[in-house]
Every structure is written in structure tokens, then in C-alpha cells.
Subunit: 336 residues, 2 copies
């Protein structure tokens, strides 16, 4: 990659992101914890098992139906910790603000960040504020990092993913990406389409308490469900087969995607969770999820198979199988 | 502050920063840990006492004599943890990169970040890479967050600062700010002036091992020694009197400051530590510091007094006392 330049796709969470991380970041930072490539790093300090994660938020525009960059900055980090099998506890919040940014907007964002932190039950304990000249940032960027305590008797790792397991998705796809896209480009969408941005740690705690045998969790943000499952299939060396008819998709989201040429399986979500579990626990897990406000539409969307390791397929309504490959970049950049 | 706009000074670490944090951030995030306003938050998880901190780095230019944004991003966070009385262990690294950024430069920055992490003995365990359009960031910004284990039998807090204590500074002032300024504006400086950017956790561990009674530590970055001491004097409700003749200042730095109108006491350092200690321990502390590569020029620069609580004075070489007040903003923005 030397002699080349950064492109938007390097931040998409897709194949270009993977290549950048594999060729530049991993060789330099080489260590076992980072190499797991899980969004939440598992660390141990003084016999206490923690999870630690970070995310920068560059969403454009800053305000969108269903949320804003402040809410997103909390939910993104809280959900990464939850997906690592941890109970999120403490967050940092660091702001890079452009000169000339209206303080009332900052105040609104900060209040929404705090409201999300309260809902998630986490505390913002440290922060930083930097200001750059007008034109040197696009309004405001936020970074959050988070620490959580790993749950005992729970092991979330791709190593536990094996053929026969069910893949459960907690609800409808594509809402976040479409809501941000519509706000950015001035597209009119049905009022029912707004960001699903939500802290999922409560849902995940209920899930892991009822079924500690869950082997893998992942929140399908940048790159969507298809990219998340490709990563897991590749790391676990298993095949994945989804059932198109089982994928929870609102008719209006399906219609907008059809119209604009988006595949909802590649669109970012900010309030959804994927879970891998042995089929014997599926019924118990679904019943727990259905009782939670963020899991009411949970269902099994597919299965882990022993065939075609590393590949993700979609059995279409017509009965054929379509390959869901890893895309180079994201059709909608700056979605989170 | 409503109806107003963000200005560069709001990111200076000076009075405008304080006002922004006091009027917007603290009321929203209101909690005891954040309210301590220490750069490293002290938290407890499962009986393990940790420190947690975050910093975004927006230094301009990205490369400067003595370091670059990668080295800075590690040292800044490591030093905040050390100043909280903790042993830094794990860091996150999150990049916001502008489209078109040369990948060889990213590689250089990442390698320098890792070299600093290795020197400091910390591990980069989690990260994030976002890309924004050309013009939406100034090359590249880095956020690091860090976790450390608090040392037992050590309590670093402004509550322990009291009249009679000595104030020790670990070395020469102003090098970092001048090196960055010279590179940014194309000013020729003597080759001896380069950034002091360094991880100080080894030095601080030696200091706290020898003298666990140290009551306060602070790395004087944005706003320099004068701003750091103003914050401490205000929080501890004590007076501080510095001796101009005792302040370690290279003649060439003094000359450049005189020429350009900078006060070195307000310039950012990235490899210096301030320590407050009862006078009976001063000799032992200095002898330990003098044996460390980053503390060779340590000396007592002043004293805590019971007079003029909240104020910092400088006894000049002529014998008068000059007030070192808290400035509204920084003369050199984007220094870290």
C-alpha cells in the first residue's frame, strides 16, 4: 500500500478498511489482544477481567431523525462493550470542535450524550476538548472510549462459532443508515424510518444471563450484517447461510433500498445485535429477547454450516443462493 | 455562553477552556469523578483501583523536531495516567484521517506511536480508523485513551497540597511548544531546541516508589506551568510562589521567547512533570529524579504558601513579585 493515498473506503469497515488495518496497523502494534480484531479488547488488570474499546464518530450530518452524534457516540461504544460480553461502566468523551461551531448545538449534543449514558447506566468520567480552525473539521467529531467488566462464565469469541448454530438478529435492518442518508441528501422518507441508535447493554445482559452459552455477539454497524458475518465466517472458518425470508426488513426500508440501489444487508445499524448460539438454546434466548424493548423483533436469520468456510450465502425467496461477499467500501460513508 | 460560537481559545487549556467545561460539560455530565477535573479519572471496578484518561491530538504540523503526532498521542495519555498515580498498561488508538493522506506518512506515524508505546511499556489493544473527505480534517487526528492500575499507598489529589510544600519541576521548559511553532511557521531555531515529548511513567514510578508521600503530580502541557499551577492553587485554595531564578530555562529558549514575546511559563511541555511534596522529602525525591534520564534537570521551582489562596506569583530576579494569572487562551494553538 506504500506510495498510495487514503481513500474514503479505508474508513468504511469493508475490505479496504481490513487491508489498511492488516498492512499498516497490525504489523506495527503487533500483539495478541489487538490481533483478535474484536471491537472490544479483553484485558486483565490485577485479576479483574475488563473489556476496553474506542470509537470515533464523524457522522454527517450531526443531527438526524432518531438521534445525533452525541447519542451515537455513547451507543456505539456501549454496544461494542456489550458485544464483548462485558457490562459497560465508564466512558470517556473527547471532542474535536471546529472554530465557529454554535455553542447551543454543542450543548444539545452534550445533553443527548449524557441522556444516552444515563439510559445505558454508564458514567462519563474523563474528557477532552480540542478546537481546530474553521475548515479543519466538519463541525465536530467525538471519540468515546469505554471500560466494562467482563461477565463471569461467559466467553464471547469466534472460536466458539461452529456448524449447526443459529444466528439471531435482534430486529429490523437498515434504519440508521437510511435516516442519516435521507437527512444528508434531503431525501423525504416515511416518518417511520428513523435511526435505531440505542444502547443494547441491557438487552445483552438479559441474553447472557438467560443463556451464558452464547458463543458470539456482534453489533452490525459499518458494513452492516453482511460485513459483520463475513468477518466472523472468515475468523471462525465456517460457512454462514442466511434465509432472505427470515430477515427482518420494514417494507418501507425495502422499498427505499430498491429505489436507490442499496442492499440493506450492507447498511449500518446502531441498535441491533447478532448472536450465535447452539440451536438447543434458541427458543429460550428468543423469548428473553422478545421481552426487551430493543429485542421485540428478534428472530433466527440463518445458520452456521460446515460447508464453504469463510463464505456467507443468502438463500433467496426464489430458492437460489446468492453470495454475500465482503465489499471494498461502503455505499454510504460517514454514517457513524 | 448560549448564542455564542466556539473559538480557538476554547481548546487552549486556559480560562476559556475552563469556562466552556464549567458551563457546558460539567452540568451535563455531572458526577463526582469527572468533577475532580484531574486529567486521569480514578475509578474502581471489582475492587481494582484504576485510572482512565483520554486525549485527542490535533498538533500542526504532524511532524516536528523531536517527535510527531504518534509519539505525542502515546506520551500525552501515558503521562496523564502517571500523573494520576497509576501505572499505565493499556491504550486505545483512534484515527480520523483525511482522504488523500499519504499512506507512507500514516505508516511513519503508526510506527512512531508503537515505538513510544514500547518505551512506555504499554500495549495498544484496541483502535478505530475513520476517514473523512478531503478538507474535513487537517491531515490526521489521533485520540488515545488509556487505562492504568493505581499504585497502592499513593494518593495524588489537590486535597493533599498544603502550605510549606516544595514544588519540583522535572526539567527545562518550553521546548515542545517552540519546536512545533518553529516547524509550523518556518522559523529557524538552534538545533538544541526540539520537543521534549517523552513517556514519564518510568520516572514517576521511581518517584512514587521512593516517596509515596508525593501529594500532587501534574504534567504541564497546554497552558504550561503557569496554567497547571493556577488550576492546582484554585482547587487546593493555597497560594503558590515561584522563584524565577530557579526555573530551568535554556538560554536559547529564553532568547527566542524574549524575541517573539512568549512567556515560557505558559508554553506547553510534553515531557515534564510537576510534583508537590512536603519539604522533608525533597532531597530524597530530587536524588531519585536526577538518576532518571527524564529527570536529570529536576529542581525546586517554588513553594506552596498560606497567603493569597488561588493565586500564583513569581518572585523575579529583581526581587519583585509578578502575578502569573490564568490566561484566557493560548498564544500557540494546536500544540498537542
Amino acid at each position: 500500500m506504500n506510495g498510495e493515498y487514503i481513500q474514503l473506503g479505508h474508513g468504511s469497515g469493508g475490505k479496504m478498511s481490513q487491508e489498511l488495518i492488516a498492512s499498516i496497523m497490525l504489523p506495527a502494534f503487533s500483539n495478541n489482544i489487538l490481533a483478535e480484531l474484536h471491537d472490544g479488547a479483553r484485558i486483565t488488570i490485577h485479576d479483574t477481567r475488563l473489556a476496553f474499546t474506542t470509537d470515533s464518530f464523524i457522522v454527517k450530518p450531526l443531527f438526524f431523525p432518531g438521534g445525533d452524534i452525541g447519542k451515537l457516540a455513547v451507543c456505539g461504544t456501549v454496544n461494542d462493550l456489550a458485544a464483548a460480553g462485558a457490562v459497560p461502566q465508564y466512558l470517556s468523551a473527547a471532542f474535536i470542535i471546529e472554530e465557529g461551531f454554535p455553542i447551543w448545538q454543542l450543548q444539545k449534543i452534550v445533553q443527548s450524550l449524557q441522556a444516552a449514558a444515563q439510559e445505558a447506566g454508564v458514567v462519563i468520567v474523563t474528557g477532552d476538548t480540542k478546537v481546530v480552525e474553521k475548515g479543519a473539521a466538519d463541525g465536530l467529531y467525538i471519540n468515546t472510549a469505554g471500560i466494562g467488566k467482563q461477565l463471569d462464565a461467559v466467553t464471547i469469541a469466534t472460536a466458539g462459532v461452529r456448524p449447526g448454530q443459529d444466528i439471531i438478529l435482534s430486529g429490523y435492518l437498515g434504519d440508521h443508515a437510511l435516516a442519516v442518508m435521507a437527512e444528508r441528501y434531503g431525501v423525504m422518507l416515511p416518518q417511520t424510518v428513523s435511526s435505531d441508535c440505542a444502547p443494547l447493554n441491557g438487552l445483552v445482559l438479559d441474553m447472557l444471563t438467560a443463556v451464558p452459552q452464547i458463543s458470539m455477539l456482534r453489533d452490525p454497524t459499518r458494513g452492516g450484517v453482511a460485513t459483520a458475518l463475513n468477518e466472523i465466517a472468515g475468523q471462525a472458518k465456517v460457512g454462514i447461510l442466511l434465509e432472505e425470508a427470515a430477515i427482518p426488513l420494514r417494507p418501507e426500508v425495502a422499498a427505499v433500498c430498491e429505489l436507490l440501489g442499496f442492499d440493506p444487508l450492507y447498511l449500518a445499524n446502531e441498535g441491533k445485535m447478532l448472536a450465535f448460539v447452539d440451536a438447543e438454546f434458541t427458543r429460550r434466548l428468543l423469548s428473553v429477547m422478545h421481552r426487551h424493548r430493543y429485542g421485540g423483533d428478534a428472530r433466527v436469520i440463518g445458520r452456521v454450516t460446515g460447508k464453504n468456510p469463510g463464505l456467507v450465502g443468502l438463500r433467496t425467496r426464489l430458492g437460489g443462493v446468492r453470495l454475500l461477499d465482503m465489499r471494498a467500501a461502503d455505499p454510504l460513508p460517514r454514517i457513524c
